[in-house]
Amino acid sequence: MAQAIASTNVPRWLPADQLDRLIDVLRADGRTIIGPTVRDGAIVLAEIQGAADLPAGRGDEASPGRYRVTQREDSRRFDHAVGPMSPKRWTFPPRAPIRLGRRTSAGVRFSGVDPRPTPRPTPLAFIGVRACELAAIKIQDHVFLDGPAVDGDYRARRASAFLVAVECATPTSTCFCTSMGTGPEVTTGFDVVLTELDDGFIVRVGSPAGVTVVDALSLSPADGSAMKAAEAVVAGARDAMGSPMNMENVHEGLQASPEHPGWAAVAERCLSCTNCTLVCPTCFCTSVVERSDLDGSISTSERTWDSCFNEGFAKVAGGSFRPLVKDRYRQWLTHKFSTWWDQFGSSGCVGCGRCIAWCPAGIDVREELAVIGGVGPVPMPQLSVVAAATEAPVTISPGSVPAAFVTVHVDGSSRETADTMTLHLSTTDRRLLAGRPGQFVMATLPAFSAAPISISRFRSDGLDLTIRAAGPATRALTELERGSTLGVRGPLGRGWPVEEMTGRDVVIVAGGVGLAPLRPLIDACLAERDALGAVRIYLGARTPTDRLFVEEVGRLALRMDIEVEETVDRAGPVWLGRVGIVTQLFDHATWDGRNAVAFVCGPERMMQATSEVLFSRGIDVDRTWVTLERNMSCGVGLCGHCQLGKFFVCKDGPVFSLAELGPAFTTDGL
């Protein structure tokens, strides 16, 4: 293949008045053509019928918060920079149905998987794609296609997209691709690339599909003078952007500055309106909206563009993890320029400048990077996004995480507390049965949003979910009766490192419903009891009636080989057990934690207090494991809701060691 490309990769010449021939060949393949066109005062991307729809003789100018279409002297069609839209609108549409849930006589059914491959999406051809766009597409490819969960909708749309790139000639003042190492030259990721001159185009190919298309045009080779002029076009674009910024320290600089006063300063101007994220060609955060009929018996789950600037984006039942605009701005900028490297091995920014031009308040990320991230103006060797992207730090097998919701049956349920139930589920799904302690599932009913639920026991023929009715969706789950069904996706996330226990003392600390994800770990302790040192279990609850698994805990407490201590935050006179916070159970204990491994689950504040006491007892941060709650929405690292610094809690966690979390565990609003 590569040879075939090479042999035909002689630059060709396409006269200006024959551009429609290229479009016609693409259309003959059944493709819809998406290209730039002038509409509503901007050069936008839209379906075009032919070259006549392209913005001939029109240019654009952009500065922070301002964009205008201009009239040019020449009649070139691509002498403009990028408008507000990117191909993302088609490869990753703002709204896409991803799942259909139904209540049938045989129980709930979920057709399609999430994400569901769109059945035969219309094949697309993009014309006029810039180097920065190609870099953005590459980045989204990596996010959606190379992770443990694959977005099937994206894959289907992307696979059918043909990319006709165009060399950039006239960047605007908001462009900074040279700083991000993504342009202006088109180097990779395209099918065909054009360089526009006054009287025609230099045509080069970049893929077998491109070869086929260009061959069909039977073009003659481009002559030398045209080639020279083409080189000047690209060189001119590079010069127009001036000196690139020095991005060398930005990765460390941003993560090292969570308390920088610059965040509060920019938050005063920031409208948290989401424009920057929605014009960004790489931002991929989404939410799912349920659209059901009146009685909730049929429900379509629709994936919708969302933004980390929305207040509700990081919200869980207890409140938002990023309540302030400054927290959200920090999340966005830090993610884009810093933690994206940790997650995906590249920057999340391609330097297209849309977030600068289309910010109504005119906030310029370049200035914020200079203030907060210590980015200087000195030209430095460039980082190559594309090369870096191949060096993703995590070894993962794409598509290894279950994406479908399977129907499981409720065999019965046990009431734990006034608002918490344990559902006993039966399933034959082998992946579910093979889950590890600490993993979770997304559980759903038609018309309700999916909720992350800890697996509280694995059985040979099913599993237990312990659910607190914290909102309508979880309440509906707790009300399921024997014989009913629900949809479950999982097992998800990284569980407890069970193997760490071997040969060590084990300390388990649970607060409230935090005991649920620890129960399978306790089961594992019992199974492996002989291989472990001392096993100490400390349980805290709000009141005596809020304790989980009371009988079971009572039986455990009777065992001689396990120490179980319980306390409640407050109690009436009838309670004869301990009262006080859970750390009091061991802050005066005499055991030595230097050969112990600790597992903690509970409200975040309780885990912070607990980990300090554990540390004082000699358990180091790399042997203290916690499981975190975040707004996990997809559960597989594709929706962006549960980010914590460089982590996706759903995918990289929810179990983390304190050593892994570092300051992220205690930084406010991260």
């Binding site: 301002r66 005063e268 909206v289 909730g296 308040a361 018309a447």
Partner: protein
Amino acid sequence: MSPTARRSGRRRPRVGVVKFASCDGCQLTLLDLEDDLLAIAERFDIVEFPEATSRRSAGPFDVLLVEGSISTEEQLEELLRLRRESTTLVTIGACATAGGIQALRNWSEHGPWAATVYPRPELIESLAMATPVADHVTVDAELRGCPIDPQQLLELLTALVVGRRPQLPDESVCAECKRRGATCVVVSQGTACLGPVTRTGCGALCPVYGRGCYGCFGPRNDANVVSLIANTAGLDDSVASTRLAGFTAWAEPFRSVIDDHGGPPGAKP
């Protein structure tokens, strides 16, 4: 009521639709749900809806949809009575949630205003201020908008039947504007637009139609109006009070910013 109880269909929820000072447009939105109206009427027992039915009921109501702002003493008394009769009270529209356009009179002396419209203002029974329902009673949920969005109304009703939280996101008009692929009128034309500080729900109607948002869904939670005025094109101090003084002018933080700019246009006699 639990979803299972709802589905078992023991009893249809009793619904009332009532109005105070308003244009009727929000309750009309219920009748404008043409495709779903009859299904809604099957799921709910609409016991009070004077605009649509001659049957009347004084309560009790499982769900009461309240349109309009509180503008007279009698309306206030009636509202207090209705609250006692209602399990879930939902305000529908800008008048009920924010006072509506008629709340602009709250910046002025009432007497002279009435005199400009009525030859004998002393015969007018009207409170000096037009106020939102939540100023007087607890409101369980609100549908924003002037008028409300039919899809949001349907979502609310569906959520009530199914027993889930209605999906009424508190995000900016911009978010929907971008999803719809409209070009930002602030950036591309320098048009004054309240989109960044206004709650979505309308489908970014005005920007899609080439004009700036005038805030009829009211301020969102993080509305940074000060920065909007200071930093966006088209909306400077000279037009701020006019643009904000619309259908949700009485809602904070719009109200304070209007105060800071000397009140709405025409506030003085």
